[in-house]
């Protein structure tokens, strides 16, 4: 009976015995969670360990005996880490905003205006999403050099939309498709312009889609690596993922404490941001896959 209340999706839980359920569900699930979460635990525990404990094989490495903030102190006050965080924030927010505006307009045009070539544009945008950054970064570096944007934050702000816009457009097209045509027809009859319809009718109804697209774009920009590594070389304009890898590693002596503290602090903002909108993120991801 208790097994039945546990399971509301299958409706067949009554066939499970309790032991069976432990062996086939809970234990494997626990193992998965352990493996998936262990690197984060290890990152955190290392960030708080004093060097003496880090570099000794004695004692239990899974716990900290004398937790210290020394690594965070070194990271925040002896390196450019705060600047890298601000850079990443700035680039991610601006690139996300630019991409969302462009994607909303494009998705509305393709889905609702149905201009000549709308179908082709939709397909082209889908194909654009399939082009990975690792085959574009060399020629893009040349284009940016030519435009005088190389080694500036604008290099990243202009190039991130190349993978953000296709994704956001594709996702928003799916959302716009669910909004009934009748609403637009009524508004047109009442004399609204297309622009008013988009702002006052479509966008308010598509807020969940906008949040999904926005959070996706933000995490993608925050995590971007190859463009940021190639197009930016000055320390004070690097983003966190690149700077931690290129600036905090000096020679052959690895400062594991500050490295882990840097990895932890660089992961936290995006993890916290994501935790507020998990449902939107999941619906965006699965929606995009199902389209």
């Amino acid at each position: 009976m208790s097994a039945k209340t546990d399971n509301d999706s299958g409706g067949m839980a009554f066939l499970d015995t309790r032991l069976n359920r432990w062996v086939t569900v809970y234990i494997p699930m626990g193992l998965f969670l352990f493996v998936l979460l262990f690197p984060f635990y290890w990152m955190t525990i290392t960030a708080f360990k004093p060097d003496a404990e880090l570099l000794s094989r004695e004692g239990n490495p899974f716990w900290v005996i004398n937790p210290t903030l020394a690594h965070f102190n070194k990271l925040l006050f002896e390196t450019d880490y705060p600047i890298w965080l601000l850079n990443t924030m700035f680039v991610s927010v601006v690139a996300t905003a630019v991409s969302l505006v462009a994607a909303v307009l494009a998705a509305y045009a393709i889905e609702r205006l149905r201009f000549q070539g709308a179908k082709v544009s939709g397909l082209a945008i889908f194909l654009a999403y399939l082009i990975p950054p690792s085959i574009l970064f060399i020629p893009l570096a040349i284009v940016l050099q030519y435009l005088g944007l190389f080694n500036t934050r604008w290099a990243l702000i202009f190039t991130y939309p190349t993978f953000l816009i296709p994704f956001c457009t594709w996702l928003l097209m799916g959302y716009f498709r669910t909004i009934p045509f009748e609403l637009e027809e009524c508004a047109l009859i009442d004399g609204a312009s297309r622009w008013e319809i988009l702002i006052k009718i479509i966008l308010p109804l598509a807020v969940p889609g906008l949040i999904s697209a926005g959070i996706f774009a933000f995490t993608l920009s925050w995590n971007e690596f190859i463009y940021a590594l190639t197009f930016v070389s000055d320390s004070e304009i690097k983003t966190v993922p690149v700077a931690v890898v290129t600036e905090l590693v000096e020679g052959d002596v690895y400062h594991w404490g500050p490295l882990m503290a840097g990895a932890l602090l660089g992961s936290l903002p995006v993890a916290i941001f994501y935790s507020f909108f998990v449902e939107y993120y999941v619906s965006g991801m699965t929606g995009a896959v199902k389209e």
């Binding site: 809970y26 085959i135 190859i226």
Partner: protein, 333 residues
């Protein structure tokens, strides 16, 4: 779909209809507004305006570089020198280059092994999530964490986990008495290959699992009940109900997964930079090394473009996966 033919008529009728009401008053303004009004009633004109930001950004920073990359592959461009057309020279050189051959092998090996593992473990995790389900929301959020966090940063955590002297895995294995010397995870060619694959699988499982879970949740429980009444074993239910109904989503998810794995860069760059002895160099990392670190832009571009045929194969696979889905559901989309 049905409303579409009516749409242009309404669009054209709307604004003129309202203009007919307060006819005399806005007369003087009419001329000035006319081109704007005409633009608003023209699907093509307005469509063009709305597509403008996307079009400009994508043409300038996506289509043009793609073409430029293809061109660069046929030139001997170096950093600071634009280069001249050399035909297939880069490709012929790369075909005979042992490092490039090794990179191709590594890329295939990495993609195939990692994708199979991601698929099997991801499907298993999806099935577990679908069955356990108190608190799916919370579990899904936790499971997705490896996918959310910047790969470069989680790769650094793996770097520390794989450290030759202080690896926690080696510590545990030693304490349990399985090994007496610490494992050199990233220093030995085959160890390094499997270590990087493990890190890639760790990062990719959440995406596969959560996407497949969404597919699993659309399968009606009634099918399983009917099968159970007919005496089907759990394995038969999985094989004859779950798997066929999930195939379309599996096709799409795995296409994306293969695409990302094949063109992977940052995990390798952070963990090994292609070493030891080029044993973990993928085509993307080799391309970076040749073009950006080494300055041979033409050669690097040729290596990058050489990935395109494989990507096309993946896209075609996805296309036929989608076709099959449409056919299964008996609809046109």
């Amino acid at each position: 779909m049905e409303q579409q033919p009516a749409q242009p008529g309404v669009a054209a009728g709307g604004p003129t209809g309202t203009a007919a009401g307060p006819q005399p008053a806005p007369r003087p303004a009419r001329k000035r507004e006319s081109w704007l009004e005409r633009l608003q009633n023209s699907h093509n004109g307005l469509g063009l305006v709305f597509m403008l930001p996307t079009g400009v950004l994508l043409l300038l920073f996506l289509s043009y570089p793609l073409g430029l990359g293809v061109w660069l592959g046929f030139t001997d461009a170096k950093i600071g020198r634009s280069g001249v057309f050399v035909g297939l020279e880069n490709y012929i050189f790369l075909a005979g280059d042992s490092v490039a051959q090794l990179a191709l092998f590594n890329t295939m090996f990495y993609t195939i092994v990692a994708s199979i593992l991601k698929f099997m473990l991801g499907l298993w995790l999806a099935l577990l999530l679908n069955r356990s389900v108190r608190n799916t929301t919370f579990l899904r959020a936790v499971v997705l964490l490896p996918w959310i966090v910047p790969t470069a940063l989680s790769a650094i955590a793996f770097w520390w986990i794989y450290d030759a002297q202080f690896s926690i895995i080696s510590w545990v294995l030693t304490e349990l008495g399985f090994i007496d010397r610490y494992v050199d995870f990233l220093g030995d060619p085959w160890n390094a290959r499997f270590s990087t694959i493990a890190a890639n699988v760790w990062r990719g499982i959440p995406f596969v699992a959560i996407s497949l879970l969404a597919g699993l949740q659309t399968i009606s429980p009634a099918l399983y009940e009917a099968a159970a009444i007919d005496g089907a074993t759990p394995w038969q239910r999985f094989w004859h109900i779950t798997l066929p109904l999930l195939t379309p989503i599996i096709a799409v998810v795995m296409t994306f997964s293969v695409l990302f794995t094949f063109t992977d860069f940052q995990l390798i760059y952070v963990l090994t930079r292609g070493g030891p002895l080029n044993a973990t160099h993928l085509m993307a990392t080799l391309s970076f090394q040749r073009a950006i670190s080494g300055g041979a832009l033409g050669e690097g571009a040729a290596l990058a473009i050489a990935m395109v045929p494989f990507l096309l194969a993946a896209i075609l696979f996805s296309y036929f996966g989608l076709q099959r889905r449409a056919w299964q559901q008996g609809g046109d989309k």
